[in-house]
Amino acid sequence: MSEPHPRRAAVTGIGVVAPNGTTTETFWKSTKEGISVLDRVTREGCEHLPLRIAGQVREFDPSAAVEERFLVQTDRFTHFAMTAADLALDDARLPRSDTDGAPFSVGVVTAAGSGGGEFGQRELQQLWGKGSRFVGPYQSIAWFYAASTGQISIRRGFKGPCGVVAADEAGGLDALAHAARAVRRGTDVIVTGSTEAPLAPYSVVCQLGYGELSTVADPVRAYRPFTSAACGFVPAEGGAMLVVEDEDAALERGARVRAFLAGHAATFTGASRWEESRHGLAQAVRGALDEAGLAPEEIDVVFADALGVPEADRAEALAIADVLGAHGRRVPVTAPKTGIGRGYCAAPVLDAAAAVLAMEQGIVPPTPNVFDICHDLDLVTGRARAAELRTALVLSRGLMGSNSALVLRRGTAGAAQ
């Protein structure tokens, strides 16, 4: 059992189903060009609700992506998850023929914040419209947070350690950290990430009570964090899955090591207590840096949480300054989610995916729709910025009070491949 060196958690595959692209390539192209796809909510039954703008995944045909029985048995958020997992495994060049031979070496860890709202709404309408005998049995699993982990593992025949993190939006980063720990403890591969589908009418109504939700009807003004015009956040659907793998196992099979999950920490400071999130977020960053063995000055780019609530934006800017000191005013900070919306647990996973791509290509993507920063940050706006990026820090906070920080290091595959 003795190892020549500690096992390291490498990212070898990325799969994205996002409002600005349903492949990793289109997502990254839109992200680095700073294209905003925020637009009117057009989902059936949502048109009259006070939430006007969101990041919808418009270019997604579930029947082309997953088998018929999963269309009947699972919710849209699981359709996204299965699709993103397929894309990530393809990207990692880890086909079913490889994993079938060692099913216990592959596990799944996802995070979810809103569950299967569309499926749940349909069945609840049956319950109250026709009676309990008309509720289908798949309701018992389809709308649970755990559904995507379970269905991905069943569909792909994975029997390794599985988990579900239900820890608020920041849980997206916690899931990646959970995956990294599973890999360090001995599992070769974990398929991990988060997808959400919170734009069914029932789910939207559940969000209307959030004071932080933006109900501004203009797509270019609805979500502008770090500005004096900040008016809340815009929700989104979609997400990303990553293949996280033991570095040695990855190299042995000739896979590309695209990045390392180097450090993570999480804290809790209470629901909507944004001023206090400053200290929680700062502590999470310290913990993540400590685990990664990095000094604050070694962070090359920050993917901000960027909630878009003035008090929360101030707390985040101060948290960055608290930990990074003077470096915090120089390091490029970005929030590409202003172009696609905030997909709850999926939001920081999309940021982690973008961070890997940014490090590979030496490009910091911009923050769409945001100009005139009113905080002491070097926020990348307008257009992408070229930079040598060896490390990235991804920040996330949840509306219920969780704070997480994840440090990624650039992989060994290099930009040339």
């Binding site: 088998e67 018929e68 029985r69 999963f70 269309l71 009947v72 048995q73 005998r133 008309f134 289908g136 049995p137 798949y138 018992s140 699993i141």
Partner: protein
Amino acid sequence: MSDRITVEELSELMKKAAGVTVPADDLQQQQDSGFDTFGVDSLGLLGIVGELENRYGTPMPPDAERSKTPRQFLDLVNSALLAGA
């Protein structure tokens, strides 16, 4: 409506309740294959039983949802329908 549940109706219900498509002719040929070989799990079978109960307005025997094969299932539900008629 026939008072017997046919292979055709079972095929239709498998598609509706579990999302599993097996043409009636194939199902006819493979009546002794396990539901699991078609990809119908226990929740799927439970959904089929629920559909039948709503459709015929009569409870199905408790063992129906534990049937292993289409033949076993059809025998059980049809004997219940006959008894109830």
